[in-house]
Subunit: 286 residues, 2 copies
């Protein structure tokens, strides 16, 4: 390739958008972090609202869905893809790396795990997530891998699925008495284990942070993997000279596989922002 062609490609690459996908609207908590930490970047978001939730479905099915969506985002020429969904990160990331070798694909498991390891003093960490994420043991594996590198201390990880948290968020019951009671039921085993860090292993859970913090106790540090993931993405884009340079305000695109209106109203809820343009994508087009 000639030098001018290479330079052209470089110019083109860093002006491309970041692709982000989730099973539904939950990943917008991560988009919000991109807007905060990388305000100059363009975002192409895909929410699989026709097949949400992923958390109760099998590894094969979630991997199949994730592969279709990554293909869709690659066609939209993104420079990097973030798998905002914890279940898809847990089940599909290895397969996605194998299938799409030419584009960096970042999941939310490792960044969250690293942050939890930095934050713990007692080496007793709790993880909550969907049934799929917890059953996959992806967080346990990540802790094992990252902790071995760091020290030989006796790290203990306690994980617990919280299947009703997502429907509670989608119902908008963020601070009701029943929400508190359900949180008490789910978090009691972790409280008994005297953890000092609790990792929120699902993009919906930051919306319940207040209830979760009150239930688990003020002394426990809550880690939200969305924020940690975007920190890593920022670092990576900087290292690869892929940060967007333009002074023009970035334009974003939002796609969903079902019910764009509902997505718009929930995005107000998640992002506090009002997006007029959410495009429906028929599943047949994936």
């Amino acid at each position: 390739m000639s030098i001018s062609k290479q330079a052209n490609q470089q110019t083109r690459s860093f002006s491309l958008p970041i692709g982000i996908f989730d099973s539904g609207v939950g990943g917008l908590t991560l988009v919000k972090e991109v807007f905060l930490q990388l305000p100059n970047e363009k975002v192409v978001y895909f929410g699989d609202t026709a097949r949400v939730p992923y958390g109760t479905k099998s590894k094969e099915t979630v991997t199949h869905f994730a592969t279709e969506i990554v293909r869709f985002l690659v066609q939209r020429e993104v420079k990097l893809i973030i798998v905002a969904c914890n279940t898809a990160s847990a089940y599909a990331l290895g397969e996605l790396h194998k299938k799409f070798k030419r584009i960096p694909i970042i999941g939310v498991i490792e960044p969250g795990t690293k942050a939890a390891l930095r934050a713990t003093s007692s080496q007793r960490i709790g993880v909550i997530g969907t049934e799929g994420t917890i059953r996959s043991r992806a967080y346990e594996r990540a802790f094992e891998k990252l902790n071995l590198r760091k020290s030989k201390s006796t790290l203990r990880v306690f994980s617990h699925p919280c299947p009703l948290f997502v429907p509670l968020v989608e119902e908008g019951w963020l601070n009701k008495k029943v929400t508190q009671e359900i949180a008490q039921e789910y978090l009691a085993p972790l409280k008994n284990e005297k953890i000092d860090v609790l990792l929120l292993g699902c993009t919906h859970y930051p919306l319940l942070k207040k209830v979760i913090q009150e239930t688990i106790g003020e002394k426990v540090t809550i880690i939200d993997s969305a924020s940690e993931t975007v920190k890593e993405v920022k670092k990576l884009l900087g290292e690869k000279n892929l940060l967007r340079q333009s002074k023009l305000p970035p334009k974003h695109r939002f796609y969903v596989s079902d019910a764009p209106e509902k997505f718009q109203s929930l995005s107000k809820h998640f992002l506090g922002l009002d997006y007029k343009k959410v495009s429906p994508i028929h599943l047949k087009r994936l």
Copy 2:
């Protein structure tokens, strides 16, 4: 067609299975009714566990899913199809009748509505269901149509969505304190309206019948559309001479689009029966 060919086709038709489908496992409450009321009939069941739930999704998407599944059941040569899912009945039944003219397709809305009309004295009926079923106003339309035929009394229908009931059932929290509290929250508006009949417009809800009855009060008659629908199917098959005659015990087939093991364990829960054979069907094959 010659008389012997006609006779052959007739023989063949009544020995064919009944097709039943639902967004997931909920429709098994209806299968249970078929086993009770039509113990000689063969059943082919399809649960769309890869894309469950339908209740939060749009009319277009639910109709697209339902069409794919009916095509699948028609290929399996069933003599009649029951749409066990209330949301699919509410959104897709009209379209299914247009697309598949040669096979009787029965939804759950009309049979439930008829039974509620028979049961009410005060003419004040409550309906609960998913967001999609309630938003579709399918029950209101059915009440209007059937009631006009019957009398000119001032029927009042009060409907309310209960989005957390399905996840509560899937979590197996059938009789917890929080389940009671959530039921109180959802049913309070209906209680204030002094209804005398409550129609359960979702196949999952019969599993919460105890809590619902305690909450709404013992004087309110609870109508479960699964049982009513099977009564109508039995009548229809009798009229059309399509009841299975064989003395051999019927064989059933269960298909799901995801996680057959989970379906098996939940089917124990719903049906109290243990099915060894649940076949996974990849979405690409629909």
